[in-house]
Amino acid sequence: MKQKVPECGVLALCWRGLAGTGPGLRLHLGSCSGPAGHSWRGPNTDLSMGMELYLDLLSASCRAVYIFVKKNNIPFDFQFVDLLQGHHHSKEYMEINPLKKLPSLKDGNFILSESVAILLYLCRKYSAPSHWYPPDLHMRARVDEFMAWQHTAIQLPMSKILWIKLLIPMITGEEVPAGKTKEILDEVNKNMQLFEEKFLQDKMFITGDNISLADVVALVEMMQPMAGNHNVFHNSPKLAEWRTRVELTIGSGLFLEAHERLKKLTEWDCSTLDPTVKERVSKLLQKFK
């Protein structure tokens, strides 16, 4: 089976491909350590093992899943798939997820991708407290609504900010033209406003008085630009308060732990970057000029 993929080597650099094929961060680089868990080297044939989660906490989608399982004390085996090393493109990982994306879940023979699907699966299988995905028809619909909207309205633009503010300058040594930067930031600002006005409104959390999956997914995505030193909360006291509230509800320790790897991204030494990858990033930059 010939599978055509919009990627070159270890890097998916079609600008749309950044969003369409995953967490938007695939760079061949020196190693970065993740939290407890071993680097994954191949498929696990030991079926007596518990549930496995294939994660790299650089990805917002992975952080949402990680936070949820830890918060709910769901036992799992952390399989670190290093995005910076391009391990998600390895033959072994493609057997787990032919979409080459993170996160993935492996529960016995059952393999699942897409963080939203994984979160819902975990909620149901482990009977998580009902506030995470409320049984009330309307409240549940609100969670579904946000989870659908966020793919293109939040996750994608937040990931673009990280590229524009950190990764492209780091790799190419050049800044993205101001016009393009402004365009992306305007889009993010517009969507943050919509988030505040439509989803959060004057409530404590998206569904009302209690945290749900939607708040976790929203916040981890909004944290992505932080690695590029861009704070999307600074314009809105209401959103900043919501952010703190969600963080505290999750637990600051867990929240910080989940974001440690993202925080360290600025320390990444990109001199070991594969030259073909570097060239692709440069080409992407040229498109904006």
Partner: protein, 240 residues
Amino acid sequence: MGLELYLDLLSQPCRAVYIFAKKNRIPFELRTVELLKGQHRSDAFAQVNPLRKVPALKDGEFTLAESVAILLYLSRKYKAPDHWYPEDLQARARVDEYLAWQHTALRSSCTRAMWQKMMFPVFLGERVPPETLASTLAELDSCLQLLEDKFLKDQDFLTGPHISVADLVAITELMHPVSAGCQIFKSRPKLAAWYKRVEAAVGEDLFQEAHAVVMKAKDLPPADTAMKEMLKPLVQVLLR
């Protein structure tokens, strides 16, 4: 006032909602929102959906956006047959997985393919660089391959032996490039067979009815200056 569905059948997600509601005999008032006339941008419509997109639902005081959320809401409220959104843990996860993936994969390439191949030249009188169109069609092809290899595989429907909301969401997307003359099923017998199964499961009449508007899009009279002006931001997005 009962259930109202704000739809423009030109839009893929609207068609999925329409087919689902009709197939399950859910009583609703159809409120047409014409995208090409910019009706989704009106302040009146923003009261229904501040995101200014279709489809949108209004059920008494409750409003809801996003086709996936609407489909799940309808299936729960009106207790649609299990196969649409199965109760079984793993079967449901497969549907959720498709519904999540498609937002940034199939949706994007199907919309671009239809607009770049047909709407731009025919409706807007705008030239699309051949490289841009070629790149879009290649991306579409890539998504179709994933659809076949990762989701459909050797099953009758995308997520198992029975039709689900995932199939409705997918088929309505694929009809977009079809309406523009893209022969996506020609070299893909597996997908073509699935398409026939979905159409049969939905009912041919309902399927044709839901797709009447988009299939006639190629015969739309050219847009006037005002319309072109209004559609400019969309043009910029879709030409990238």
